[in-house]
Amino acid sequence: MLQLVTAVIQPHRLETVKEALTEAGVAGMTVTEASGFGRQGSHTETYRGAEYEVDFIPKVKIEVLCTDDDAARITDTIAAAAGSGGIGDGKIWSTPVSSAVRIRTGERGLEAV
């Protein structure tokens, strides 16, 4: 069946990840802007002499719907392309998908991807 691979990455790595996935034969993905809180921690910014904490860092969330078999490969592809070795590179997780449809054609399951 299908899996949904979700990755939270650094915004400026999106282009690289997109290219890697395309090469890996991934036909599509859905991307969302997000903010991340984590080990990367917070930094302070100054404004008119006063300080304020910024602990939500801009991130990008990528969702790829794929077959169970592809899930691992896609996860590795993303991990490889998104990794800078720096703290805050993000996470990838996959969740089981019970059904999928391509709106245009009504194709279901594997065809939908």
Binding site: P11, E15, T16, V31, T32, E33, P58, V60
Partner: protein, 465 residues
């Protein structure tokens, strides 16, 4: 006031093309200084009027959606550029050049002639042209707002050529050009152009909005109006404030001389604007429960448009009243056209067309002084002037309305039949910026290329390539 006389004199200069040497004007030093002051002041007033282009661009951009923001800015930029050249080459000559033909209904002279650096008594043709070109550009740019978010750029560009080359100049010819309306027993009065400039823009806007039809989604199936909020109220207010500033060139400059009549005109302009803004806000607040910001801005402009015609003829208190009534009218007028399903995103028809007409008619009621058009004092009904002036003003606004709506209507219909007036449904939904001009008006850089939150621009995410 000197105004009209000066128009006359410049006219003759344009016609006869006296190549008087600058020196001539210099003989009496104090005369020379007054001469330079007159020209310098009208030139500066012209700069202020040109500054209004930025005001119109901002008001229109602010009251429309971000996906069309580049397009509306471009229209404002180019109607000025095209308008100035069209007016220089053709329009100016039709408005002010040559003999009065067909009994003052037309005339012509190679526009550029008025642009020769000949020195005339009073104003240099270059000064006079500069000021008049700023007015022509104003009349032209009013229309873009009412037609915003759905008009093809190319068609709009063509329109802006014709209105400044032909439509507006013919109106000029009839009026400031000394044509038939100036030759009536009780001549027309429109000191700075409530009808001549704003009315022309406003009624052309009416035809544009009418022929285009409303924006997709502006009315529900049931025909109920659905608001389409603009994307930037700060742009609207900034634009309105710039227009307010520009109006101090528009009205006082229309004195066409540096004399002691300029400042009272400025004062009446100021108070009418304030009265318009406050009245519009008060009525809108009572009517709709909350004071809408862009309606208040419309009210400020309505006060200004209303006082533009009568500013030379009325007393200060009357100017306040006229501005206030203008502010009141605009609130109801905006709702009126909304119900008629004439979709005017910025309220241009109401502010410039409807309120401009009010301002022009108000002279028949409140005229106390001779503004150099009326040719007599106390021409107003409330000063015992009877209805003489009323009939003239009525004929004026009616004939003007018929001519402008007919001419602009024909122009827009012709464009519709030929290159097409309205963009495709896809383009309207996607926004005109990308499809007409290649890229969005607002960028969205950090994070995702695509899905820019305001208009959807994007930047290639930096990579080491």
């Amino acid at each position: 006031m000197k105004r009209k006389l000066i128009v006359g004199s410049v006219l003759s200069a344009v016609l006869v093309l006296v190549l008087a040497s600058p020196a001539m004007a210099q003989e009496d030093p104090s005369y020379a200084t007054q001469f330079v002051l007159d020209n310098l002041w009208i030139f500066m007033a012209g700069i202020l009027v040109f500054f209004m282009q930025a005001g119109f661009a901002l008001v229109e951009a602010g009251l429309t959606r971000s996906k069309n923001v580049s397009n509306i800015m471009m229209k404002n930029l180019m109607d000025m550029s095209a308008g100035v050249l069209a007016f220089a080459i053709i329009g100016f000559g039709i408005g002010f050049g040559g003999d009065q033909l067909l009994g003052g209904w037309f005339g012509f002279d190679l526009g550029i002639a008025g642009v020769e650096d000949t020195v005339a008594d009073g104003l240099l043709p270059s000064t006079f042209f500069f000021f008049q070109a700023a007015f022509a550009a104003t009349a032209a740019t009013i229309v873009s707002g009412a037609m915003a978010e759905r008009t093809k750029f190319k068609s709009y560009f063509v329109y802006s050529f014709f209105i400044t080359a032909l439509i507006y100049p013919v109106v000029l010819r009839w009026t400031w050009g000394g044509g038939w309306l100036a030759q009536l027993e009780f001549p027309f009065s429109d000191f700075a152009g409530s009808t001549i400039v704003h009315g022309t823009g406003g009624w052309a806007a009416l035809m544009g909005a009418l022929i285009l039809g409303p924006r997709i989604g502006r009315y529900t199936k049931s025909g109920k109006p659905r608001a389409i909020p603009g994307h930037s109220i700060p742009f609207v207010v900034l634009g309105a404030l710039i227009l307010f500033i520009g109006w101090f060139g528009f009205n006082p400059g229309s004195e066409l001389a540096a004399d002691e009549f300029v400042m009272p005109i400025a004062l009446k302009t100021l108070l009418a604007a304030a009265a318009g803004a406050i009245t519009a806000m008060a009525i809108n607040w009572t009517k709709d429960g909350k004071p809408d910001v862009s309606i208040a801005a419309n009210g400020l402009l309505a006060g200004l448009v209303a006082v533009t015609a009568p500013v030379g003829a009325v007393e200060t208190w009357a100017a306040v009243l006229i501005g206030a009534i203008g502010g009141a009218i605009v609130v109801f007028s905006v709702g009126f056209f909304d119900r008629l399903k004439i979709d005017d995103p910025v309220g241009a028809i109401s502010v410039h067309g409807v309120v401009g007409t009010w301002g022009t008619l108000s002279i028949a009621l409140f005229a106390r002084y001779d503004d150099a058009f009326l040719g007599r004092e106390n021409a107003g009904l409330f000063y015992g002037g009877g209805l003489d002036q009323f009939w003239t003003q009525l004929i004026f606004v009616v004939v003007h309305f018929v001519f402008v709506t007919a001419a602009a209507g024909a122009l827009f219909l012709a464009l519709k039949k030929t290159i097409g007036l309205r963009v495709s449904e896809e383009e309207e939904i996607a926004g005109l910026d990308v499809l007409e001009h290649g890229s969005p008006g607002y960028g969205h850089d950090p994070g995702i290329p695509g899905a820019g939150p305001i208009g959807g621009a994007r930047t290639p995410v930096p990579d080491r390539s």
